[in-house]
Structure formats: C-alpha cells, structure tokens
C-alpha cells in the first residue's frame, strides 16, 4: 500500500477514534481508499461525527452540499488535503 503521510496518519487516528471503528487500525487505512460507501463503509452519520471532530481538532469547517460529500470525504488523502488547504 502507499505510505501515509504524517498528517494522514494523524487524521486516520482521529477517524478510528471518533467513529469507534473496531475492526480497523489507523495505519491500515489506505490513503486513496474510499472512506464512504463501499470502502470503509462509513455513512452520513459518520460524516457528521467526523466533521465535528475535524472542526474541534483543526478548526476547519467542512462544507459540501449533499452531492459533494463523496468528493471531500473521498479518501484519507483528499480529506487531509482539504483540511490543509482550509486551516486557519
């Protein structure tokens, strides 16, 4: 698998912790893997939980109308890039 960057690993830990993902360890989340739907199988409630956790940790507000959630949350990599680009 592709290596995670430091920021991606930190974000992966936040995902596993805030969503109580028992069967996944942070280091196992592939950077390009789909987080929602078929990939990690997360759903919209997870997206809200995760958005709150991201806001608390990085002071970044996620934004996306329903149709775009898949893009922002597409993968660990895209979410990490989004946070980096929108950090205060």
């Amino acid at each position: 698998m592709q290596p995670q960057s430091e920021h991606e690993l930190e974000l992966a830990e936040l995902i596993v912790e805030s969503l109580n993902l028992e069967d996944i360890s942070a280091a196992d989340i592939q950077p390009e893997e789909q987080l929602f739907g078929d990939g990690l199988g997360l759903d919209s409630i997870d997206a809200l939980e995760l958005a709150l956790a991201v806001t608390q940790k990085y002071a970044v507000q996620l934004r996306a109308d329903d149709a775009n959630i898949k893009e922002v949350f597409g993968s660990l990599r895209s979410l990490s890039a989004y946070i980096a680009a929108n950090s205060p």
């Binding site: 912790e17 993902l21 809200l48 806001t55 996306a64 109308d65 329903d66 959630i69």
Partner: protein, 450 residues
C-alpha cells in the same frame, strides 16, 4: 367511483422553489413539469435519484403528470439502485449521476425554462400509483410501500393542517434530509404543492452549509432536518439567525437539544412521529411536552397485537411496532417498541433480529446489542467472547447487517448481568456499558482490545 384532483392547489403566481437559477413560480414550474412529462421515455417507472431538490421535484411532478410511477430507493448506493432496477425492469433513472446498467434520462433544464408559459393545472386520478417508497430494515432488503395520488394528496392536506397552521404569507423551507426519504418527500416536495411554501433546491449537510443555505433564504424560514444534523448544527455554533420553525424526525430527539435549538434560533421546535407506511402521524413540542398530538387524519386502535393506524386515504391499515398509550382522544404517550425496534438514520431495525445474529457468531458465548440512550446515534454491544477480537465480531456482523446497524463500540466483558430467568434489564446493560466505558477511558482510551 373515479375522481381526479389538481396536482397543486396553489396560485400560479406564488413562488414554489428557490431554484439554482432563482425563484420559480407555481405557474412556470407546472409548465416545465408538463413539458418534461411529454419528453419522458415511454417507461412505466422512473427511479428519481436527484440530489438537487429542484431536479427532484420537477422529475417527480413530471412523472405524475405522465402517469408514471417514481421509485425511491432507500439510498443511492450502486448496488441498491441496481437491485430496484432489476425488480422493476421497465424503468429509467433521473438524477445527476448515472448508475451502471440503468438507463438515465438527462433533463434539458434550459429548454424547459426557455418558453415559460401558463398551462392548465393537470388533474391526477386519485387511484394513480405515483410512487413506491422503499424502506430498508436491518438486513438491508428494501420493502416497497405503494403511494397512490389519493394517499399523497390527502395525507399532505392533513400534514399542512398539522404542521403549517397560520401560514398565509409565504414561508421558505430548507431540508437537510433527502427527498427520496418519506420524511423529506412529505415535507420538502409535497407540502410546497399544497401550502404557501417555497423550497430551497439545496440539500446542505455540514453545519456551515446549513448556515449558508438558511442565510440565502428570506424570512420566515422553516428547517426540516433530523436529530443527527441538528445536533451537529447546534454544537458547531456557526449560525446566528432566526428560524421560525424547525421540524425534526427520523430518530428521537432529547428535550435538551430541543430547548437548545429553540433558544439559539428563536425557533419553535416541532418533532414529528411517523413511518414510511402511514406518513406523518403526530407531532409534539419536544422542548415543553412529552405527549404526542395525533393528526386528525388518522384513527388509532391500540390492542394486544400492537398499534393499528387507519385513515381514509391509506390503501390499507398500518400496524406499528410502537407501544402507545392514549391520554385523551387526541394525545398519546410513546412507551417503547414491540420487539425493541430501533430507528437509526431513518432506518428501522429489530434488536431481536440483530441479537440473534450476534449470538449466532461462532465464538460468541453471550452478547447483547442495544441503544445506550435516547441521544445515541449508534447501537453498542457487550459481548462475551474469550477467543474473539471486537474486529472479528464486526466482520461477521457485516456479512448480514446493513452498516447503519453495526454496533460501535463493541466492548468485551466477562459475563452479562442476566437475571435468574435469563432476562437482561435495559438498566443493567446500560450500567455495565457505562462502567466498562469508564474503565477503558482511564486506560488512555485504548479501544483496541481488553
């Protein structure tokens, strides 16, 4: 006896939608829907997957005018849609995305809007099958509910009476819930056809988006949402504006969240009780009252088998898994569910079924899946399984259970607090869960094993 009724009872000059390109009047909207109706391919079913609400309502009304039936899958996952398309072969799909193996019809919005002109308001036969709404239980197998025009029209008139009293001047409605879900359909698609409501085309999701979309709407505003969205919206504290009314359904809301929302947005919070089969049945002001006020559209009978809902506009009686107790003719208290049914993300599942699946996993000695408290968004599990890791248990459950019903977290314990009769009380489970959770948090939050 055949009768037909107008698809809308509104004035043609009133505004029905805040579309992507501005406000659209009822007259122009109906003209566009009628034009689209004439363009739709000759198929009996339309799978409407549109996420933009203007796109959805236009496709929905065009299908009704053309005498077609709209199919509304419980989600937009490829597999789910393909399954519905396989069961209803004579279909096309509408929406932004295409699904492999399902023919998609692309709406030409510009041409529809190019020659706006008034047309006669179409009349729809009361017996026309307009929609099939699918609900998915814990196994994820969709169950169809047939919606005839009579059911949708008369049901909506009842909902307007119940939820929109005193609306004379136009109100502007924003919904965070998808139009394909019965809650979103009844409020954001059907109410605008029968009440002076203009609905926003957007479906905002994150708190900032909800704030944006609300700010784009003139007052007075109505927000249609769910406890999950509203909880995040309140907690993020991103908006300071007035919301006339907030309508919540799909899962129970706590009185505390209801009070917080009322205070923060100077709003009236109305919680709605209903189900996909019967629609909206009752409402309450959760911040100040516990009993539910029954909609005048329904007659309810409580007997040993459960709660039976009847209404002239429903094709058949609906049996609820909920146990209710009437205080007076028009008000009832909710006392729990038969078979311990749970509602997660607008989906209903049976705890008994989930527990059977848990206990059937090889290596699981004993275990229970439960809802920790009224505000929980997820089920949790306590499991006795000396040889298994929580991850093994999730992997096994995943094989037969829809993701929304997977318990998180799963805590391993030495034994469950069963009484001599083998019974588990909710209190003893919740206490053990709280104790286990506390002891783990003090161990640096290590949730991987124990």
């Amino acid at each position: 006896m055949r009768r037909s009724d107008a698809i809308t009872n509104r004035g043609t000059d009133e505004i029905i939608i805040h579309g992507p390109d501005g406000e659209v009047s009822v007259g122009n909207f109906i003209a566009r829907a009628a034009k689209l109706a004439a363009q739709l391919p000759d198929r009996r079913y339309v799978i409407n997957l549109a996420t933009d609400r203007y796109h959805f309502i236009l496709g929905f009304c065009a299908a009704i005018i053309a005498g077609r039936c709209t199919l509304m899958p419980p989600n937009r996952l490829q597999q789910t849609v393909q399954q519905v398309a396989a069961d209803y072969v004579d279909c096309i799909s509408l929406g932004e995305d295409s699904i492999d193996g399902v023919e998609r019809f692309e709406i030409d919005f510009d041409s529809l809007a190019a020659t706006d002109s008034d047309v006669a308001i179409p009349r729809i036969s009361s017996q026309q099958l307009c929609a099939i709404v699918f609900t998915s239980g814990s196994t994820g197998t969709p169950t169809p509910n047939h919606k005839y025009w009579e059911t949708l029209r008369v049901g909506t008139l009842g909902n307007v009476e119940l939820l929109m009293q005193n609306v004379t001047d136009r109100v502007n409605l924003l919904a965070t819930v998808p139009p394909q879900h019965m809650w979103g359909l009844e409020t954001s698609i059907l109410i605008p056809l029968f009440c002076n409501v203009a609905v926003c085309h957007r479906t905002p999701f994150f708190p900032m988006d909800i704030a944006d979309a609300l700010e784009s709407l003139p007052e007075p505003r109505i927000l249609v949402s769910s406890p999950a969205h509203l909880d995040a919206f309140f907690a993020s504290d991103v908006a300071q504006l007035k919301i006339e009314k907030i309508l919540s359904a799909t899962a129970p809301m706590s009185a505390e969240l209801a009070k917080n929302l009322e205070q923060q947005f100077d709003a009236q919070l109305v919680e709605v009780f209903g189900c996909s089969e019967a629609g909206i049945i009752a409402k309450r002001s959760t911040a100040i009252e516990e009993p539910w006020q029954l909609s005048r559209s329904f007659a309810v009978e409580v007997n040993d088998d459960g709660t039976i809902i009847r209404a002239p506009h429903l094709p058949e009686e609906v049996i609820l898994q909920d146990i209710i107790e009437f205080i007076d003719e028009g008000h009832f208290r909710w006392c729990g569910r038969h078979q311990d049914m749970v509602n997660i993300a607008g989906k209903r599942g049976s705890l008994a079924d989930l527990n059977l699946r848990l206990q059937a996993i090889p290596g699981v000695v004993d275990g229970v899946i439960f809802m920790p408290n009224v505000d929980s968004k997820r089920l949790a599990a306590l499991v006795v399984a000396p040889t298994l890791m929580p991850s093994d248990i999730v992997a096994q459950l995943r094989l037969g259970i829809e993701a929304a019903f997977l318990p998180r977290p799963i805590y391993k314990v030495l034994k469950l607090p069963r009484q001599e009769t083998g019974k588990l009380t909710k209190k003893s489970i919740v206490d053990l869960f709280a104790r286990t959770k506390r002891s783990r948090t003090t161990k640096n939050g290590d949730a991987a094993d124990n």
